[in-house]
Amino acid sequence: MKDDVILKVENLSKQYRLGTVGTGTISHDLNRWWAKIRGKEDPYLRVGDANDRSSKASSEYVWALKDINFDVKRGEVLGIIGKNGAGKSTLLKILSKVTGPTTGSIKSKGRIASLLEVGTGFHPEMTGRENIFLNGAILGMTKKEIASKLDEIIDFSGCERYVDTPVKRYSSGMKVRLAFAVAAHLEPDILVVDEVLAVGDAEFQKKAIGKMQDISKGEGRTVLFVSHDMAAVKRLCNKCILLNNGKVSKIGSTSEIIDDYLFVDKPPVFIKTKDELFKMKKTDLYFKSVRVFDDKNKTKETYVCSENINIEVEIGVNSKVMNSSLFIMVMKNNESRIFSAEKLIEDDKYIYKLRIDKLFLTKGNYILDVYLHIPNTKRYDTLSSICSFDVIDDISPFIVHGGFNHGAVFGNYTWV
């Protein structure tokens, strides 16, 4: 039973056309058709770049997924992680048959049900009960199956009082609870879940994760789980796949992959190029490099809030300036200024290090502005919006709040 492969993905690729579909569609279709008649390969299948959203594409077609191969064994809970645009959602869409692959195949030994978004097909004018039936049927249950589980579903959702009220009067949280309750009572062999847990209050999230654990452990069913929430992935999955630019970059144990994931992508390092340095020849003071790293001197993009974050700035001096200083500003989500640090430049000291203590920055994306200046008098060198890095929550008491914004910093306080 252990080696029982239930799902096999082979050389799966998916190509998308960039830009607006419209102009040129007919001509491309005709070209395809002409190639097909002559027995040739689709002329547009050969072109296409790897899926990297930051670099400018050189052709109109892009591979959202390229040669994906993996197996899933029965009873496994597989996490699929990766940055935005790595191809996670595309993979899930193909798995749940919403769209077809361009090449390759997926073979399955069980029924797949997917929760790409809960509450699909809910009609606001219909009551909760009617929507349970409709939603259940959309997800592939028969009327009889739903009827036999109706009480369980209503009970799990905790919406018993409102079950005969039109869904448009529900709060958004209630809608999600009802929808998840329906989905959780599906009995597929393979369940595909995409970040549905990001909604709902803490109590419900706990219930939902518990239910998913039951499904995989208790009932021996297979779950594919996509999430950005590393805490949830860690709790649920025993194996993970890391996607990067449409390719599988690693498959392995959850902890190993999560560590890897946090290093993926552009590290928060800024180094001036030779040309840029050459331009600085006449400037008295200038930046050479800025980098952000952890306590093990490792530069990475994502930090957990239980570790210190270090910033190191290297400067170049053409001529010494009295009273000049280094100024570092930390900004969150590219808008709010969290705090700044100022340091007088010392003679013959070219490297400055700043440590941001752990449990200070809350989860979010941060970016730096750095200046070399004499305050209110002269600006020598400015670097703005450099060294973007993320902080994620791991141990704080606020982790149960999910996506709730609980403030810009953790705060320096004591309960007395």
């Binding site: 080696d3 029982d4 492969v5 096999k8 998308y16 056309r17 579909v21 419209g22 569609t25 007919i26 279709d29 869409k93 193909i94 798995l95 749940s96 048959k97 919403v98 769209t99 077809g100 692959p101 361009t102 090449t103 390759g104 195949s105 997926i106 073979k107 399955s108 030994k109 069980g110 029924r111 997917s114 790409l116 978004e117 699909t120 097909g121 009609h123 004018e125 219909m126 009617e130 039936f133 409709l134 049927a137 959309i138 997800l139 592939g140 028969t142 009327k143």
Partner: protein, 285 residues
């Protein structure tokens, strides 16, 4: 060792054209009825007149047609009162029209739900055809009401065994509308222009389908172009429908078989095209 051939199903880029998976459609039959139920429950929510709209539309159209085509243009409808003649034509025509126009934007209208969950997409247009049947039924009752009214006023009642053909005729109408609707909806996913063509084209088609005039008149007045009207399957549908319920002429089995055959062909072509589109439409819409 695992065996190689025991996969339950496979997801691959392209299946053969005829892989219609009708078994799967059958498994989802409950969904079809739930969609019908949803349409029925929700269609006239928050309107004042509610289901009365089902009645108002054909009645007023019939009145206008009677005024324009029979009173002004003086088209003769034989022994049948013009109003009843038009009401019969419009009742049949509007079922076909509703099936066609409501299914022709299936993919666009349901983009949201189709983009999230898989179920045999063909359930959606099928449910539309079934829920339109309800509307058709109500309109048929209205027609019968007026028929009885006219009968009391002295119209000669001619009912025959041809009435038994009615169900087959209705099935043909539904399948024609559904088939054409599926073809159009598949093409709309790529070429949006068709959306504009549909509402306009259906309007034009009505004038070529003998809805407000008998086929005979075209044959007499425009013998050169009568074939356009005559070979239009919808003309046959409308004429047959009138013949059956107004007793204006006899209906042959051949006629019904011809209609059914046409409808089945259109429906199958539509199904194949629809089936081919449903796999990747979400990328192009």
């Amino acid at each position: 060792m695992m065996k190689k051939n025991d996969w339950l199903f496979e997801i691959t880029p392209k299946n053969s054209l005829l892989d219609l998976n009708l078994k799967e459609v059958w498994q989802y039959r409950d969904l079809l009825f739930l969609f019908v139920k949803r349409d029925v429950i929700t269609v006239y929510k928050q309107t004042i007149l509610g289901p009365l709209w089902y009645i108002i539309q054909p009645l007023f159209t019939s009145i206008i047609f009677t005024l324009v085509f029979n009173n002004i243009a003086e088209i003769s409808t034989g022994t049948i009162p013009p109003f009843l003649f038009n009401l019969a034509g419009i009742t049949a025509w509007s079922y076909f029209r509703d099936c066609l126009t409501n299914t022709s934007d299936t993919f666009k209208k349901n983009e949201n739900i189709f983009g999230k969950v898989y179920f045999p997409r063909v359930i959606m247009p099928m449910s539309i055809v079934v829920s339109n049947l309800l509307k058709f039924g109500i309109q048929l009752i209205i027609f019968i009401f007026f028929y009885i009214l006219y009968a009391f006023k002295g119209m000669e009642v001619q009912l025959s065994v041809d009435l038994l053909y009615l169900p087959f005729l209705i099935i043909s109408m539904g399948m024609l509308g559904l088939g054409l609707g599926m073809i159009i909806s598949s093409m709309v996913t790529k070429y949006r222009d068709l959306t504009f063509l549909v509402s306009f084209g259906v309007q034009l088609l009505m004038y070529l389908s003998a809805v407000m005039y008998p086929l005979e008149i075209v044959k007499v007045k425009m013998p050169k172009y009568a074939w356009i009207v005559e070979y239009n399957p919808m003309t046959t549908v409308i004429e047959t429908f009138r013949n059956i319920i107004l007793g204006t002429g006899s209906v042959s089995v051949m006629q019904i078989l011809y209609l059914l055959a046409t409808a089945v062909v259109v429906f199958l072509v539509g199904l194949v095209i629809f089936n081919k589109t449903e796999k990747t439409f979400i990328d192009t819409i």
